[in-house]
Symmetry: C2
Subunit: 157 residues, 2 copies
DNA sequence: ACAATGTAGTCAATCAAGTTGACTATAATT
DNA sequence: AATTATAGTCAACTTGATTGACTACATTGT
């Protein structure tokens, strides 16, 4: 088998490895804090809930999965006290998913860890280069998807 | 629901979106060429097979999945004429997975498309910035994983 | 106003891609 | 030569998604 060096890696592989590296570090550290039942997709879901809650369908669109899958995910997270279903204020069919106190603990922990990971990266490549990297990636994602988030935020493997 | 702008995105989300964007484009284009039965993971598997074949266990380690999962994946790809199992030259227990002609077609198409995606990105941010981006990502992945590929190349979702 | 159509959420069945465990054949170790 | 380890496959199971069917409520058009 061939083990190519990092230099010959194409951009896509590089992005995959970078993403894996950072998301793995994040969730390893969340585990240590007692949030071992939280998966990456839950973190993305929390982003769509913040700050004022979201309906199941909104979350489903954001994550690029079905509303039924969201419903199961909410069951899972509700059982573990990360989120709650509240009645929708105007639509009696609807429900609003909101974070519980414990849900906020995860979100805040996540934010802190991500900041620390970013600091770690700054130590490696410097603050200017990291700033450039973020700008360039934002620009690419933004322009290639024409201002929209990719419909499939989820990396399909 | 909150739809934050790209500027406020943390690095991890940005990497996730960049990866999704490029891998989706790659596989959309592979579909058009008639390779709609090829998933991202197969592309990564091909990388571990090139150029001289690999055993199931080598592939399993590279992809961070079990040898049983690899075996099933090889069944799938062998049925569709992308790979072949060959006898191992020295170990009668072992088999070597190699690309078929059709397998090489995918690999070459993939390479071409990835190059084109990279050119597209160069148009957006310039060749110097893309070079920096690749250098920085390589450096980060390399240093944070201490010279090893992450054991889990696969983005766990 | 109300009939027809559309939408939010859930339940159930199914599917896809992975896992663990058991096994066979062969290789390596002592 | 006997023991232990390894490569690969088969089978059963798990997980996280899907599609389809349904209920309750909302929206639209006459």
């Amino acid at each position: 088998m061939n083990h190519e060096g990092f230099n010959e890696l194409d951009l896509t592989s590089l992005l995959s490895l970078s993403f894996s590296t950072s998301i793995n570090e994040l969730h390893d550290r969340l585990s240590v804090l007692g949030f071992e039942d939280i998966r990456p997709v839950h973190g993305f879901m929390f982003k769509s809930i913040i700050p004022n809650g979201a309906t199941g369908i909104e979350i489903a669109e954001y994550l690029g999965i079905t509303k039924q899958a969201v419903s199961k995910m909410v069951d899972y997270l509700e059982q573990r006290d990360y989120v709650m279903r509240k009645a929708h204020p105007t639509d009696k069919r609807g429900k609003i998913i909101v974070l519980t106190e414990r849900g906020w603990l995860v979100v805040n922990a996540k934010k802190k860890i991500l900041d620390e990971i970013e600091q770690q990266w700054i130590k490696k490549i410097g603050v200017e280069r990291l700033q450039m990297l973020k700008e360039d990636l934002s620009k690419l994602v933004y322009e290639i998807n024409e201002g929209e988030l990719p419909t499939k935020i989820r990396p399909v493997w």
